[in-house]
Amino acid sequence: MSARDLDTILESARARTSSWDAERSNRVLASAITRRASIGRRNTILRRGVAVGAGAMLLAFAVHALALTPSSSASASQWSAPGAQQSASGGDPTPCQKDCELATRQTDGGYGTD
């Protein structure tokens, strides 16, 4: 195809016009404004939902964290070392306790304290 032929077709394409009239234009505008308003409402609801959801999550997290915080001696024992509990209950000494015992004997010169 020659450049001249293409130019002729382009002229024809430019000459074509859509049936865009005042009535159609007004209809599109009215519809655009209505849709914009509904999009705005939807976004507002969505924003509020996100804010409420985030607040609820924060509150739930805070309540959960408070429930885990030690507030009494009973709950404090829950946080003490497992080795200490074991020793108090009369079980086998932990490796740490064995080391301490050995160190005490060495300090005494291995003769005991009787």
Partner: protein, 189 residues
């Protein structure tokens, strides 16, 4: 105060009262629907013409124009220069048209016919060549089709087309040249 603004639709220069236009623009930005309606009345016909020549038919014209102005209503606050409104609207319309063409392409991929969207010429003598041109355009990717149509059919300058497509001048030149080559090949007997 009177300023000169270019009217690309008619290709002439028209005088506009800048103060009035600025006021209208500011009111529209502040959410005044009546002011937005006036801006719409000033620009909708031109935007509809651009979209029509990009698509080649009337079918989805209302939807694209409507979506363009909905986007414009939301994004008007980001625009600071009232004189750039028309070019900015073209950019928004091009973005919307590209999405529509991509959707059409997906539909075509899943079985719809590209022929459904072929052009309809007002003059019966022009029907065949214009239809063939739009058939050829339908087979081009949006990134080639839109710059070519903006420059060759809509007569936008290269910088204007580059701005509308949100790409560099070098990219727009390369895309238009590639589209031109493919269209020439397609239309050759």
């Amino acid at each position: 105060m009177v300023a000169i603004a270019r009217n690309p639709a008619a290709g002439v220069f028209e005088a506009v009262h800048a103060t009035g236009a600025n006021e209208l623009f500011d009111r529209a930005r502040a959410g005044d629907n009546a002011a937005f309606g006036e801006l719409y009345a000033m620009h909708s016909r031109y935007i509809a013409g651009v979209v029509y020549r990009l698509l080649g038919n009337d079918g989805d014209l209302d939807d694209v124009v409507q979506e363009t102005f909905i986007d414009a209503l939301s994004g008007l606050s980001t625009l600071h220069d009232p004189s750039a409104l028309r070019a900015w609207l073209v950019t928004v319309a091009v973005r919307r048209t590209r999405r529509l063409l991509a959707r059409r392409r997906r539909r075509a991929f899943f079985g719809s016919l590209l022929r459904d969207h072929s052009a309809t010429a007002s003059d019966p003598r022009d029907r065949q060549p214009v239809d063939e041109l739009y058939d050829a355009l339908d087979r081009l990717p949006e990134d080639l089709r839109i710059p070519w149509a903006l420059h060759r059919i809509e007569h936008l300058s290269l910088p204007e087309a580059a701005e509308a497509c949100e790409v560099s001048l070098a990219t727009i030149k390369r895309r238009i040249a590639e589209a031109e080559e493919r269209i020439q090949k397609r239309l050759s007997p």
